[in-house]
Symmetry: C2
Subunit: 360 residues, 2 copies
């Protein structure tokens, strides 16, 4: 056919300038001495073909190192096997495991991930969305540095599924996946109670974080459940820093009267600061005071003296689950609401319990 001949000439000409331009299905067809239709059928294992032909074509294609052009395939089938990952703010400590889990699970389904950093800039984010839509991604995942609700991602009437992970949308119909902060806090308190601790204080971050409020609620619920009261001035919201952990300990243990016998800290940095301050005051951890952190930021938890027992949000699992849910959505399933995935506790040396469970 005329078209085919022209194509060949074009390719021949281009080959002079660009060595090793990707092979096309035509090249394979010519080499195997069959039509392109046959090649397609052979490679995609469909249609009716004599087994020998099929094998021969496949062998030729492999021999040539033929790599079908996904763009062409996608154009045809209307599915690209790509998704976009947009971070509201930036990539950070929490994004990483989420990304890893997400990417791992998606790539198992042969789906590629576009990485887009919104950088806290709505305009930048909008440009990213635009470019994702032009690239016809099959879905979009939104994540962030914190799990609090954000304004919805504007997709301009496109029908791409959007999933929020470690992030929530303010729109009602959206689907979000976040850690169960309250449950994590309960886990921490349960652990301390089982160890016989009675006066459990809670030193945590700023209350504008939803996570802080949820963990506080979980902490209180667990205390109540065991008939324990919250120690007087035992709930200390503050900031997410070691310095605050030290300061909080200073406050809690300054009065003559004993102070708490356990600290549940809102993150591992606070816990570390607390541990340092207690040591410097000669208050034995875990003998006199137990500490539980939050985040299982391993590098911090393991460097703390003693190493920190802490709550793990299982962010990698969150990422994996996000991938699975997104695939469901791409397949047409409609899901909405906020799903909270369980945290777990990682026992190290800061509580005095027998060291067990996931040690690292």
């Amino acid at each position: 056919m005329a078209g085919g001949k022209d194509t060949d000439r074009t390719r021949g000409a281009r080959a002079l300038r660009k060595p090793r331009a990707p092979l096309t299905i035509h090249d394979v067809a010519r080499a195997a001495n069959v039509s392109i239709g046959t090649v397609s059928k052979a490679l995609n294992n469909n249609g009716t073909l004599k087994q020998t032909t099929r094998d021969r074509v496949i062998a030729v294609a492999k021999g040539l190192g033929f790599r079908p052009n996904d763009l062409a395939q996608s154009l045809h089938r209307g599915q690209t096997f790509t998704v976009g990952l947009i971070t509201s703010d930036s990539f950070g400590r929490f994004s990483i495991p989420i990304m890893e889990g997400l990417e791992e699970e998606l790539s198992d389904s042969r789906i590629s991930v576009f990485m887009c950093n919104g950088a806290d800039d709505p305009e930048r984010e909008a440009r990213h969305v635009d470019s994702l839509l032009k690239k016809r991604v099959d879905g979009i995942v939104v994540t962030g540095r914190r799990a609090d609700p954000r304004r919805r991602l504007e997709v301009h009437g496109s029908n791409v599924p959007v999933l929020y992970v470690y992030s929530q949308s303010d729109e009602p119909g959206a689907f979000g996946l976040v850690p169960d902060d309250a449950g994590g806090a309960e886990l921490a308190v349960e652990h301390l109670v089982k160890l016989g601790r009675k006066r459990i204080a809670h030193v945590t971050g700023p209350e504008r974080f939803e996570a802080v409020r949820l963990r506080r609620d979980g902490y209180r619920k667990a205390l109540a459940h065991h008939g324990l009261g919250e120690p007087r001035n035992g709930y200390l919201p503050g900031v997410w820093s070691e310095a605050w952990g030290r300061e909080a300990v200073a406050r809690l243990f300054s009065s003559a009267r004993g102070g708490p016998d356990a600290l549940f800290c809102g993150n591992d940095q606070i816990a570390r600061g607390a541990a340092d301050e207690l040591r410097e005051r000669g208050i034995a951890v875990p003998d006199r005071v137990s500490i539980v952190g939050f985040d299982n930021w391993e590098i911090v938890a393991e460097a703390t003296r003693p190493s920190l027992t802490t709550i793990d949000m299982n962010l990698k699992d969150l990422g994996r689950e996000a991938a699975r849910r997104l695939i469901d959505m791409i397949d047409g399933k409609r899901i909405r609401g906020v799903k909270r995935l369980p945290c777990s506790i990682v026992v190290r040396d800061s509580c005095g319990a027998t060291r067990s469970g996931r040690g690292s």
Copy 2:
């Protein structure tokens, strides 16, 4: 033409099942009552068109929310405006700023980034490369958790440019971009020397890291340059941990004789461990001993008491530069070798200098 009519029917039918399937250029053409050629010219601002037509078509397209299909464009022009980012091992603390810089700069050039995690698994990496090649990326960036050379990325005779950042290939023709570790070490020693320190020890990580060897060389070079000797047993390779920092201090200061008056540490964790141990031994930092770290891992450097003066590898800049170089390579420039980008020093409180420079 018959084809066009068929197309329209197909789209009509599909519209019943899939609401809001992306518009095509045909839809715009119909709405604006012009041919698709005209639409293309109007939107791409080329060809010769009456200004009024151009404006009208653009207005119609915008009104409809038309978003041209990048797949089709790419298929046509043989360039996809996408690149792949492959990590050898995993995403980590060092990858983040690199990714950010890279993504930022690339997205300014309207290039999207596929995120691929090699996860230390050659097979997985190969699958990723394969999928990138099938997606016809314009280039590939390889990065890793450490800057040491790795085996070359196998692209099976494709001619996509490959760039290594915070990573190097063992193949001779490759191009890699890494921080100037030796230079960074010199910066650290210079700083200490200027402050009048004479006995500068170096506590660092495992020598199998190229970075460790380079920093050691820079340290020695700077000492020699100032006519200073390396203190006896003053070079202590070990591991990258706080515990090692503490232990090293214990060794250095156990003997009756004074010990060093400055510590240059191979990373901020070691520096932090050292600072803690010195404080606990009642040795004043920075009054009696100065400390310089490496990495400018802000969360650690700032939490250390006193806050750490440290070397910054400027990884975000490295990422940005990688993006620019990759674009050059895509444009046909051939570059090879290893380029080392300068580090800088971030002065905080651990050396006793007037606090100045980039404070955070």
